[in-house]
């Protein structure tokens, strides 16, 4: 009895194999027929990473240098104002 059930199971499995194989073949993506250079892609699909990376770093560097420069400029203005104040206060003394 057990041997008969085992035989039926094997037959059913073998019968199902082509169906399973067909499904798996159906799900596979089509094979690649050749390499496409990124330069040949439409512009909407071309998005290299390097410009974004460089732009991010450049922005941060420029922002920090500009901030440092703004502090230096404000220091200069303060120094200039202080000198004017000193000159104005000298005649009184």
């Amino acid at each position: 009895m057990v041997r008969r059930a085992f035989g039926i199971g094997v037959v059913l499995l073998l019968a199902a194999l082509p169906v399973l194989a067909g499904q798996s073949v159906g799900q596979a993506p089509p094979g690649q027929e050749g390499y496409v250079p990124i330069s040949q892609l439409p512009p909407s699909q071309q998005l290299p990473a390097a410009p974004f990376l460089i732009a991010a770093y450049a922005f941060i560097w420029v922002a920090l240098v500009a901030y440092l420069w703004s502090i230096w400029r404000r220091m200069g203005t303060l120094k200039h104002d202080m000198e004017i104040l000193e000159r104005r206060s000298l005649p009184r003394k």
Binding site: A50, L53, A63, Y67, L68, L78, E86
Partner: protein, 240 residues
Amino acid sequence: MNSRSWSESGSRGLSVGNAASPSEQLFTPFAIVAALVFAAAPVVIAEAPYESTMLLIQKIFYFHVPSWIALTAALSVCGAASALYLFRGSVLADHFAVAGAELAALFGACGLVSGSLWARKAWGVWWEWDAKLTMTLMLELVLVGYLLVRKYGGPGAERLAAGMGIFGTVTAPFIYKSVDWWRTIHPKTSVIPTLEPSMYGPLLFCAVAFALLFALLLALRVDLEIARARLDRLFLENEG
């Protein structure tokens, strides 16, 4: 302070006395170290391994995350100093608050722009109105508002700005945890602890570079604010 002390105060131009204080003596070596570390950061990043899905663009991470770390430090300074000024009336704290707010706005802008560039490549969009990004933009606007109040608010603007500084600081933990609480396109906070050791090193290096730079800029900005307050006081005395 007289004009002689200004001219003799060295490259900083903001000495508060004739003799250089210990912090002023440390300034030049500290500035050199900060500049060298920050300049070396891109080299360290270039040595870092590529992430498997995002490849090169993921390397924005090494400046993006330290920008937010620096913003958090600046915001903490701004919030704590604002509270000290508001409840204790400390004028020095007010100088720290305005310096912290300005630096928080600067590093916030760095984080937002670098994040947007990263998002364009990784997610296909420049911006997404999700909880994390929207709250971060609101924080940046609060900081810009703080600086505008300080500049154009007239008498009493310091107290109003201090309130804004505290408000802005309180939002920071909500922004940090927003990715865990709400569905968002931004990665969760659990990403950082899962970093490979080879990626953790460059991140730590860049975080130190930004921290040094933050400390340097904070010292400069506070010094500027102290000198400005002194000039105002001298002007009033002179007029009186």
